[in-house]
Symmetry: C2
Subunit: 185 residues, 2 copies
């Protein structure tokens, strides 16, 4: 039996994620049936579920990939760059993530996958908070500042779903910076 290299596995995993994201964005969470995911990835369900436990796990991996990318942009290039990235993200992909959030309340397998994700990423969240603590005001707990910025980013993503007109990001940033910048001595 030929050995499957790590690179090959990684490429295959990426092929599945990219195709599945297209299927979810196009058809919604329910509408992205396994048959449609097969079609978009060009792979059989056997191959797909060799890499992911189930549809819920595949979707949550996509949410994680997407959110990791956004957090990376935030940490490397700042909060304005994050808003720009959200403003340029595929609104169909944002909208299926928003749509699927309710499943945390109604779908046990979905909630299980999200809980696992939150546990796995807890350490990284802590270290991000430490980085954030160095640059924002210190008269309010950094957890609250992070909540404020995360809530705004989610609300901003939500406004893409309904095609709300975008505000001027420079002016929006003026408000945000006034909110979180270190207080004058």
């Amino acid at each position: 039996m030929p050995k499957v290299s790590e690179e090959h596995k990684e490429a295959r995993r990426e092929q599945i994620l990219a195709g599945a994201q297209r299927a979810f964005a196009r058809h919604g969470y329910e509408g992205a049936t396994v048959a449609r995911i097969e079609e978009e990835t060009g792979l059989s369900r056997g191959a797909i579920f060799n890499y992911f436990e189930n549809k819920e796990a595949l979707f949550v991996s996509l949410v994680r990939r997407s959110s990791d990318r956004f957090v990376e942009i935030w940490l490397e290039h700042g909060y304005r760059a994050l808003l720009e990235a959200i403003a340029h993200e595929d609104p169909d992909w944002l909208s299926v993530q928003v749509e699927a959030a309710r499943r945390v309340r109604t779908d046990d397998r979905f909630r299980e996958q999200i809980t696992k994700l939150l546990e796995e990423t807890e350490g990284r969240r802590r270290s991000r908070l430490e980085r954030l603590a160095g640059v924002v005001r210190d008269d309010v707990p950094v957890e609250v500042v992070a909540h404020f910025l995360g809530t705004l980013a989610n609300g901003f993503a939500f406004s893409r779903v309904t095609d709300d007109p975008m505000p001027d990001l420079g002016q929006l940033m003026t408000l945000i910076e006034s909110g979180v910048s270190p207080r004058p001595a």
Copy 2:
């Protein structure tokens, strides 16, 4: 034929809205079939669709009622009272509104109803902006301040859907007030 009084019509309309909201919150948008709405309202589909054009129109009326109530609280009691109201709203009802937002992109009848709602409420939005303009900073257009506050409220509602831990609202308000308060002279 007996005349149906205005009060009777109003009470019947309210009965339909209350029952339909329970059906949507419990079963999701798709899952709230006409049969389930009949069950929760105690009325026949004939009676229900005498008051509302279709399921989309009924749902959008509920969204409007909900959002009017929140805006009322905001204008009468301030932004913190709005956050408190969101923090105490039924998360299942919030989550079905979040879930349904995607329909603006995929469901023509739904988008039509939302467009009609936005047109009908445009005048009120303008007069709210004028009220807001009197109390917030004036170095950033009031439309951007309103967008900022609306985006935060939506993000906050979204965090209820996924049962995120709530931050201390007093501390959150400190950040928001720093963001939007009139600048010191």
